[in-house]
């Protein structure tokens, strides 16, 4: 019903966190998987039965080479997951270093744009491109998060334009926009720490998501079942963007009493 049998998938930022979880899932569903990251992670790939090819998404030459190499070695690509990304510690624009802002734009936004430039020529028609966005760029953000938010908001609109440009080939392009997910490079375990309390207060479902809970939408979007869904930002956020649950209203009321 939702088979990925024999599909060829490339996942950037595929050696840890969400990317690695997706790689494992796609392999278990019969896909051939190439994972990519900046530094040497051959062993990670070997352990799970994927192929490793190094690339720095901020460097257009290595991005171009990545997709060319995959096509040369394995044939036309069916699924591209642009997941490589970084976050910064929260800090207002006025106190953020320009070089940090440029770095996050280069990796999160330009990196995805380079993939949009170089991957489609090596893809089969009716394939699927999935970009990792964020609720911070497709929903709601916070003070101190300007650079990450704008990098991900840009990915959201790049997703739309590429969906429009590639539609004639039946290639659909969508963004998965998670909220806070435990076990990623950006978020510690659900350990009861500040991030976990933040999620339990702010989301209707009352807790952080786990890697298992975010993988399903990538799988769905990678399969032919989602052939008519394109240009979308799909939030996996436990209800964060739906509105303010009672826990927050209670907390605000309490803090005003003090």
């Amino acid at each position: 019903m939702h088979s990925l049998e024999n599909k060829l998938a490339v996942i950037t930022g595929g050696t840890a966190g969400i990317g690695l979880a997706i790689a494992r899932n796609f392999l278990a569903c019969g896909a051939r998987v190439v994972i990519s990251s900046r530094s040497d992670h051959e062993s990670v790939a070997e352990t799970i039965g994927a192929t490793y090819i190094a690339a720095d998404v901020a460097d257009p030459e290595t991005v171009s080479a990545l997709f060319q190499d995959v096509a040369d070695q394995f044939g036309k690509i069916d699924i591209v997951v642009n997941n490589a990304g970084i976050a910064l510690d929260l800090s207002g624009v006025e106190s953020t270093d320009i070089k940090d802002m440029k770095r996050i734009m280069e990796i999160n936004t330009f990196g995805t744009w380079y993939a949009m430039k170089f991957a489609p020529q090596h893809m089969n028609d009716n394939g699927s491109i999935i970009n990792t966005g964020s609720v911070a760029g497709s929903g709601t953000t916070s003070a101190g998060n300007a650079e990450y938010s704008m990098s991900k908001a840009a990915v959201a609109y790049l997703t739309r334009t590429s969906a429009i440009e590639l539609g004639a080939r039946g290639i659909r392009v969508n963004a998965v926009c998670p909220a806070l997910i435990a076990g990623t490079g950006m978020m510690t375990e659900d350990d009861g720490g500040p991030a976990a309390r933040f999620c339990s207060a702010l989301t209707a479902l009352g807790r952080m998501g786990s890697l298992d809970e975010v993988v399903g939408i990538y799988n769905f979007l990678a399969s032919d079942t989602s052939a008519f869904i394109t240009g979308q930002e799909i939030r996996v956020d436990g209800g964060l963007t739906a509105g303010r649950p009672d826990t927050i209203s209670d907390a605000i009321a309490k803090s005003l009493e003090i």
Binding site: I164, L205, E213, G216, G239, A242, G243
Partner: protein, 257 residues
């Protein structure tokens, strides 16, 4: 693992407006996936239900009594309620009519089915549902991006998204999720009046063909399955990219005007 994912075997699912169109296609899909399915419609769809091994309850979703009765019957019969698809909807007698010429009667009917019906469905199903339950509302692309002379339908489908958001906030603590699906033009009876729609979509949609019920049911299945647990309060659009923006064909056509 492909068979272990998106597993809804032995779940109990209710689908309203299941006599035809999207509702019927979703009911069949869930049945094929091994769920127990109860089809609900205001017209007699017993033979459609028999054909797929589903159950049937005749009910008018605009009547709170009917909806309460139907949900209670399902809960009593099966002892569980896992998936609820509130799909029953009408375009209304004034579909195609400008606001100035719309009648209050048509407006009331459209809201009675499309909004009150969904409201009663959420109200009376959720009391029987537990952690992991999923409620899916059929909204429409009209809730994102609409056209003139369809104000009653458009407004009603916006309201459905509001119910998904509020429902999500209230049911979240119980682990029940609720989302709205916004399909583009589907080749079903509700769109029979839209002329040349198959030509229109070639210009306006990135994926330039009419949506079929087969396209849509995959998304309902995903939202019904455990893999979508963290997705709630959302409006998911399935429209071949129309709301993403303008295609080259569209821009070229504009240049000729």
């Amino acid at each position: 693992m492909a068979n272990q994912m998106f597993d809804i075997r032995d779940k109990v699912a209710v689908v309203t407006g299941a006599g035809g169109g999207i509702g019927h296609a979703v009911a069949s899909r869930f049945r094929n996936a091994g769920a127990e399915v109860v089809m609900v419609d205001v017209v007699d769809a017993r033979s459609e239900a028999d054909a797929i091994g589903a159950h049937f309850i005749q009910a008018d979703v605009s009547s709170e009594c009917d909806v309460e009765r139907a949900m209670n019957e399902v809960a009593e019969k099966f002892g569980q309620l896992d998936i609820v698809v509130l799909n029953a909807g009408i375009a209304g007698k004034d579909d195609g009519v400008p606001i100035q010429d719309c009648s209050g009667e048509s407006l009331r009917q459209v809201f009675a089915v499309n909004c009150h019906g969904v409201f009663y469905g959420i109200k009376h199903a959720s009391t029987h549902m537990e952690d992991g339950g999923s409620i899916i509302l059929t909204s429409s692309q009209a809730a994102m991006y609409t056209a003139p002379n369809t104000s009653e339908y458009t407004a009603s489908k916006h309201a459905v998204i509001g119910l998904a958001k509020s429902g999500a906030l209230e049911l979240g603590p119980k682990g029940i999720r609720i989302n709205a699906v916004c399909p583009g033009y589907v080749d079903t009876p509700i769109n029979a009046k839209v002329s040349k729609v198959d030509e229109i979509v070639k210009i306006t949609q990135a994926i330039g063909r009419l949506l079929t019920t087969d396209d849509v049911i995959g998304l309902f299945h995903f939202l019904a399955s455990p893999e979508s647990y963290m997705i709630t309060g959302q409006a998911l659009v399935i429209d071949g990219g129309k709301t993403a923006g303008m295609t080259q064909r569209f821009v070229s056509m504009l240049e000729k005007i």
